[in-house]
């Protein structure tokens, strides 16, 4: 459970993710997806309840837990005033990746994500798709056991989305990385996720494979199952100070 003052962001959220699987965590806006990811990635502490990642407690064993995951946040977390390589390099230092490994794996990942030729360019010159790819490459640099992807394809064109999921799925299969993702694109979840949990109003309302959710709701698509489980009314999110600053930033960038 996590509350912000009198507002309960998540409550009664219980699920487990198996090692090596791709797990989609779906829900309408404001359902509690990002809050859950923030708690799992040690950025927020739960108000009550317990969390466990690879047998460790993210609250009391935060440093050990942090070594085990990579994360791509919903909002960008790159330093746009640095080059792609500098972002990768700083990440490697922060995760104690030895220099030689840092350089070798950094090169491999940037080539995999087709960013090697742009490694010396400032990130602020990158497109949205390139930034997302760089964030994922960076998140994988320290060979995490779990990769959290919070709406990683938001704002990307279909080509970039397709390429990104292909690479992520490939990493999941070849390196055994457990992937925990959120997305609003049901087709993506249907395509890449082994299992899916649907959260609404801060509570888990269903868990299972895509086929199981369709069967459970008597629908023929994941989107229809999602709508049946969460309703069709549009959710209103609180317009936060962060949103206001993001808006100002967008105006400045123009």
């Amino acid at each position: 459970m996590r509350t912000y003052g009198t507002v309960t962001a998540v409550n009664d959220v219980t699920f487990d993710v198996r090692r090596g699987e791709t797990f989609a965590f779906l829900g309408p806006n404001g359902a509690g997806k990002t809050t859950t990811i923030k708690m799992l990635t040690t950025v927020l502490q739960p108000t009550s309840g317990t969390l466990e990642l690879d047998g460790l407690n993210p609250v009391s064993q935060a440093t050990e837990v942090r070594k085990r995951f990579g994360v791509v946040f919903q909002d960008p977390s790159l330093d746009s005033e640095l080059t792609a390589w500098e972002n990768i390099d700083i990440h490697g230092v922060l995760y104690h990746v030895p220099r030689k490994v840092r350089h070798e794996r950094g090169e491999t990942l940037l080539k995999l994500f087709e960013l090697w030729d742009r490694r010396k360019d400032l990130v602020k010159t990158f497109s949205g798709g390139m930034r997302r790819r760089l964030e994922i490459a960076r998140g994988l640099l320290h060979t995490p056991q779990v990769l959290f992807l919070d709406e990683p394809t938001q704002g990307l064109d279909p080509q970039s989305r397709n390429q990104m999921w292909t690479i992520v799925k490939n990493l999941n299969q070849t390196e055994g990385v457990t992937v925990f993702l959120t997305t609003h694109y049901m087709d993506e979840a249907d395509r890449v996720a082994d299992r899916i949990a649907i959260i609404d109003h801060g509570k888990i309302v269903a868990t299972g494979s895509s086929a199981e959710l369709k069967q459970q709701t008597g629908t023929d698509s994941l989107e229809a199952a999602f709508l049946k489980l969460t309703g069709t009314s549009i959710r209103e999110e609180e317009f936060s100070a962060q949103d206001r600053i993001r808006q100002i930033s967008r105006v400045w960038r123009r």
Partner: protein
Amino acid sequence: MNVVYVLWLREVKKYLRSRAQIIASIGQPLMYLAVLGFGLGPIFRKAGQGSYLQFMAPGVIGMTVLFTAMFSGIAMLWDRQFGFLKETLVAPVPRVQVMLGRTLGGATVAVIQGTIIFVVTLIVGFRPASVLAVVIAFLLIALIAIVFAALATAIGSSIKEMQGFQMVMNFLVMPLWFLSGALYPLAGLPFALAVLTRVDPLTYGIDGVRGTMIGATHFGVGFDVLVLLAVGVLFVIAGAWRFSKIEV
């Protein structure tokens, strides 16, 4: 390469790549030097206080260091909202190392800015006592930079909105600057103003710089250094504590 170094280097690289910031930051000190330095110079001289430019140049350098160091807090707010802070918060390193890297980076940038303004003051006629005096003065300037960069980190860790930092600028940074004795001598002040100047850490910084550069000190350079060290330790601890509590 350790965490503190790499985060320090990040701050310095970003600054050196931002020509606009470098040029813009010269504007205000230059205005103070030109308008106040030359405008009030004759009155200051008539009052028997000597060259106003000699008197206020250390103050303008101190102002530059104060403003630049405090702006490193804004950079943190920016990182908090748009990116990089989260990357450092989920890294498996003690947050105190992250805080120290950021603070020392912000302090270094402030010292570089102070150096640029020092060169400008030399161009317009400021003459320090000796080269050794300048070297010692810059150790004090570095101390001022660390004190206020740590304060900026503590404040930047505690507020979430840019508007909040505007309030800090108006109600903290400007008073710190005006109460520091950068523009006027500390002797013979009204009691209330004298008390306020003595609770302002920048007062001791500027007094120390002035004492080493031109030999005119109110409290004594040794005392200035002691106060700055004590406040610096306090602010670094406060900054580390506030930074360890950040949630994004």
